[in-house]
Symmetry: C2
Subunit: 347 residues, 2 copies
């Protein structure tokens, strides 16, 4: 069973993942993942290899096809090496000076397409919208039935971004506690709402960015893509819904199509302008409504769900690790200047 352990001084939790346990020999330099040279017979996410994953928990598939057989378009399976194990939310325990919990939670993989070589940025917008609908469905399912406090949806694309398999996939980890980073956003937004701005700070920021335009990359009727004022990384982007909402799970079908367009634009611009870097795509949403409504009443008014798109172009090094600050060698205005250039979409 994995363990969640708390750093006593900073309050930061860490997952000590025994399922993924490694010995020093496992840390030899990895081979570069090259989709063209991979042996697709062995890819556990390819169509025909369904038996190589744990049984699927959900799939969008042809009407006459059976679970764990070919015929699917999007497939959700438990992670074979889960960071957290299934079970009911665990109590906090102490061990002398230290606090810990059993490593209980959910860790799922969303296989985005049966086609090994079709990246998220290559998918038709309708397909991408369906992936977003699957994210929504899994979030609701896990929040309603497993009662975990937070659902983190993310995509690691490329070896530099932490992907160990190149077949297009996203992941979802539900944690029994609300993560530090999300709490910081909630408390920050709540403080500004109460003391200063009296509206959602994200809404105000979006309006200002639309007026100035200098960090605006792309927008449509319902979403805006921008390079944040205090970007940590070169060519970092954030995607915000124009329709204020704390909960990604409340997104409408129609909005998923507009979000798919915005994501496709952002990913395609990254690929075109920057010779296809690895990236992390990270969802930020309010915690499980059952938790949020008790812990942060009114969160609906001041928190605003969004996505971060973080290309991996620089290394996080000693200064960042020591201070928690970042050094960004590209002003976000310069990043936006490159990223806002019109591009030809693939499909």
């Amino acid at each position: 069973m994995p363990e969640l352990r708390k750093d006593i001084v900073t309050g930061r939790w860490v997952i000590i993942s025994t399922e993924r346990s490694k010995r020093p020999d496992d840390f030899r330099p990895q081979q570069v993942i090259n989709p063209d040279k991979e042996n697709l017979v062995f890819c556990p996410f390819c169509s025909g290899n369904e038996a190589k994953t744990p049984p699927e928990v959900f799939a969008i598939r042809e009407n006459d096809s059976s679970p764990d057989q070919p015929g699917w378009k999007i497939r959700v399976v438990p992670n074979k090496f889960p960071a957290l194990q299934p079970g009911p939310p665990p109590p906090k325990k102490t061990k002398r000076l230290y606090q810990w919990m059993e490593g209980v939670g959910v860790h799922e993989v969303i296989i985005e397409t049966p086609d090994h070589k079709q990246e998220m940025s290559d998918l038709p917008e309708e397909h991408l919208a369906q992936i977003l609908q699957v994210f929504r469905l899994r979030t609701i399912e896990i929040e309603e039935h497993f009662h975990h406090q937070y659902v983190q949806i993310f995509k690691n694309k490329g070896k530099e971004a932490g992907a160990s398999l190149s077949h297009p996939h996203s992941q979802l980890i539900a944690t029994p506690i609300v993560p530090k980073r999300i709490k910081e956003e909630i408390y920050g937004a709540e403080r500004l709402f109460r003391n200063q701005i009296r509206e959602c700070v994200f809404c105000q920021m979006i309006k200002e960015e639309q007026v100035s335009g200098e960090r605006l990359v792309f927008q449509n009727d319902q979403f805006v893509v921008l390079t944040p004022y205090a970007s940590r990384f070169p060519f970092e982007m954030a995607i915000f819904p124009l329709n204020h909402s704390a909960y990604f799970r409340k997104i409408s079908d129609q909005e998923t199509f507009q979000l798919a367009k915005a994501i496709k634009q952002a990913l395609s611009r990254l690929k075109t302008q920057l010779s296809d870097p690895s990236y992390n795509l990270v969802f930020h949403q309010a915690p499980n409504p059952k938790v949020s409504e008790k812990a942060w009443p009114g969160i609906d008014r001041y928190y605003h769900w969004h996505l971060e798109l973080l290309p991996i172009l620089t290394k996080v090094a000693g200064f960042e690790l020591g201070t928690g600050y970042y050094i960004n060698p590209v002003p976000p205005e310069v990043s936006a200047e490159y990223l806002k250039k019109e591009i030809q979409l693939k499909s």
Copy 2:
């Protein structure tokens, strides 16, 4: 002039470093740094190439040698591409919704040896102790004369750890504000001191680790090397002085020799047990005493300076970026088991 910009929601500051400004073309994959194949004629940190760096601000050198000439043993120079520029501590400014400051501070490079191929772990303990004495000296100088709030000392070893030059060196960045991460440590330790423990939490933790021994890697009369209970990374180590002190700058000459022994042990074990990974070595100390004594009276009693040694063996990915939590595939007890094995030191 670089800028410090504040993320309005989380309060995290970012350095937008114009001196290091890069265009998309600069982000092509870098060559692997291989010290054996490098052309030492061009290494700006090698003896004989002193003119390739800005003029030195300090050096330990032979008595009859001149500044910026060969004859030095340890040499301190301003970073040629500084993240922050020299100047007096700047005021905070606002730009509509956003806060920013001029990017004023200090960014120095400590060249640890004239010998390109002699890594920190290869240096004799006396030499390593002298490097620590130089860190102490520069910290005092910068805190007393430039009045910056925090001095971050760190070493990035290897490309994966963010080093762009392989010649052995450390860096020092002094910031006009106390970093988020340091504040978290100070507030955490202060809260535990006041409400619960009534002594330094670091002191109590060290004593517990000495008793249990399961995460203890090495100790001598004055320092202890351990794998922290809530380690974020495989084979992560922390080095603590047994003599309680908030300020690294108060270390005695005699202690620098004991710390040199502890660092050499930790680095050598990492190298031997793990086929020489890249790593970050990160100092954690109390802010400038002039700031600390006003902002955190009594910090001397509850804060405890220390070093973090972070080997780069895993990637920080979407889950970590979204949540601020970490997934560590190696329990620190397992890391300690490998790291505590006796090794033969090189010198």
